[in-house]
């Protein structure tokens, strides 16, 4: 009688047939590895923690690099690239401007954070998950959003010339147009006039419109370190936003027969939405890691791992949606709580970065950034998306 282990080893041996490590293959690997866009200068983009195709890595890197290039151009045009060294706080007018940038960015991040939480509780309420908590939590989330919106509008009003440029003014107008739809969106949620996927999309695009204002403010900064800090904050905020999408689409997916009722293929829609949310998170994290300092990257890994505790809820959900034999859906309450906990980590990290020493109030001459070897990241094959 053959044991299961013997069957496995027999199959393993058979699967290795015809896989010969020929010189031709090796030369092809070397050629591929040394093509443009790869190589030791690109170690971050080729790390095995990546779970997506190389093309996406490169795309993420390209976006990050392009962002930084735009920032440098803006800085140069605003006077920081003329060879003179301008210290934070050295010029009172500059210090005031940077404080305004920080204040407006913080108000935008806090509004985006509130929108993210409201989106999750809106989907929770619509799908009927956690019915004992959803109504009260949704009401509280809406109050929080309203308060954050008032504060953000006040910050815009207090920004003076900072938001006078046409580029920034257009972004603010775009954000206001999105925000104006909030009451209608809430009515749709309350009256179940739409599906959770639409709700997630609208909340995401609204929060994104608010967050997109910050990059337009970099032209007001003349300190390179502050510019990089702002870019990092923006990237972290996008990770948080993507995490909210993962949590919401997961909740929607868990109840796809009712959540996607009326669609041609409710399950297919759930699979696609969850996949898109997952990919968006992946891209956001790559962009963040492309520009972050090693210590910042390590901080996000440490805190994510601490919250996740080794759980693989997103894999469980993906397996269940993909009909993997024996796969069971995660408990919605567990999914929600875990997802919100991870979301809170990313949101707090973003706010922590706003309190970074480069913020204008500290105003010391910017010291050279300590160089620090980037440790080999601990592979976290599924964990960091949380959800």
């Amino acid at each position: 009688m053959t044991t299961t282990e013997e069957l496995l080893r027999e199959a393993a041996s058979a699967l290795r047939r015809d896989a010969d490590p020929t010189d031709v293959i090796w030369e092809r690997i070397r050629a591929e590895a040394t093509t443009v866009g790869r190589g030791s200068s690109n170690v971050e983009l080729t790390d095995p923690v990546a779970q997506t195709a190389r093309q996406r890595w490169l795309a993420a890197g390209a976006v990050a690099v392009a962002t930084l290039l735009v920032v440098f151009v803006l800085v140069t045009r605003s006077g920081g690239g003329d060879g003179s060294q301008v210290q934070i706080g050295a010029d009172p007018d500059i210090a005031v401007t940077q404080q305004q940038v920080w204040d407006l960015t913080r108000a935008g991040v806090e509004l985006a954070n509130a929108l993210e939480i409201e989106s999750v509780w809106s989907v929770t309420a619509m799908t009927g998950a956690v019915p004992d908590r959803a109504p009260a939590e949704l009401a509280a989330a809406r109050e929080q959003t309203d308060a954050a919106l008032t504060a953000w509008r006040q910050a815009v009003d207090d920004s003076g010339d900072l938001v006078a440029s046409s580029f920034t003014a257009d972004q603010i107008t775009s954000a206001e147009q999105r925000l104006a739809g909030l009451p209608a969106l809430r009515r749709s949620v309350d009256e179940a006039q739409t599906n959770p996927s639409n709700v997630i999309d609208i909340f995401m695009s609204t929060a994104e419109a608010v967050l997109e204002i910050s990059p337009t403010l970099t032209r007001a900064l003349v300190d390179g370190e502050a510019v990089f800090e702002l870019v990092t904050i923006q990237a972290l905020a996008q990770v948080a936003l993507a995490q909210a999408g993962v949590v919401g689409s997961g909740l929607s997916g868990l109840s796809y027969p009712t959540a996607n009722a009326g669609m041609a293929d409710p399950k297919q829609h759930a699979v696609e939405q969850f996949g898109f949310a997952h990919d968006r998170w992946d891209l956001a994290m790559r962009i963040f890691e492309g520009g972050a300092l090693p210590s910042q990257k390590q901080a996000i890994r440490d805190r994510s791992a601490a919250v996740l505790g080794g759980d693989d809820l997103d894999q469980e959900l993906a397996s269940w949606l993909d009909d993997v034999l024996g796969a069971a859906p995660p408990d919605p309450t567990t999914w929600l709580e875990q997802g919100l906990a991870v979301l809170a980590v990313y949101q707090q990290l973003t706010l922590d970065e706003l309190d970074h020493p480069t913020k204008p109030s500290s105003a010391p001459p910017s010291a050279p950034q300590e160089t620090q070897a980037d440790p080999m990241p601990t592979p976290s094959p599924s964990g960091t998306t949380g959800g």
């Binding site: 047939r17 095995p48 990546a50 034999l325």
Partner: protein, 185 residues
């Protein structure tokens, strides 16, 4: 020359790697390529739902290791890095194909693609199908243990989970396979 034969913590380093002053990327990786390529392809073939992609997956892992050499060389041996890459690339590819498959409403993939028909007999195909049908974490633990000969510790390190979790996934996976493969024994 050669790997450990166990695929576990490397005890018999390749000649090139035994001399720290000869950290030559080409020499080391080409040696590891000759020693480990076949077994890594076996691992990828059981993790991927399209066997034909396995060699591409392993070659990509080697290309990544080549490009990320400054980081890879900090490890005792490139093999753990390559294993992680294969598992992660296989997982990413699997997710994309699952989504794509849903999008075009194709039936679920089976193990009767051309490569598998050539490589495996009917019994072996059933074994591979049963392994591929396991939940992802169980599938990866079983694949690393039996298709890559990893110890519990090496499996845990590759997947970034605890050894206790590995044991649990292995136990559950084997229990499922015991039932699924009952007719073959």
């Amino acid at each position: 020359m050669g790997g450990t034969g166990t695929g576990d913590e490397v005890t018999q380093l390749s000649d090139a790697y035994e001399h720290p002053d000869t950290f030559d990327r080409d020499a080391i990786l080409s040696t590891v390529f000759r020693d480990e390529y076949t077994r890594l392809v076996g691992l990828a073939r059981v993790l991927l739902d399209r066997t034909g992609d396995a060699e591409e997956c392993v070659q990509e892992a080697f290309a990544q290791a080549y490009a990320a050499w400054p980081r890879v060389r900090r490890q005792q041996h490139p093999l753990p890095y390559l294993r992680q890459s294969v598992v992660n690339l296989a997982r990413g590819g699997l997710r994309r194909r699952q989504i794509a498959r849903r999008a075009v409403l194709e039936p679920a993939a089976t193990v009767d693609d051309a490569d598998v028909r050539v490589l495996l007999d009917e019994r072996q195909r059933a074994v591979v199908a049963a392994v591929r049908a396991l939940p992802p974490r169980q599938r990866e633990c079983i694949a690393l243990r039996y298709f890559q000969d990893c110890s519990t510790a090496a499996t845990a390190a590759t997947l970034g989970i605890s050894e206790g979790s590995v044991k649990t996934h292995l136990h559950r996976g084997l229990a499922t396979l015991e039932t699924a493969l009952e007719d073959l024994r």
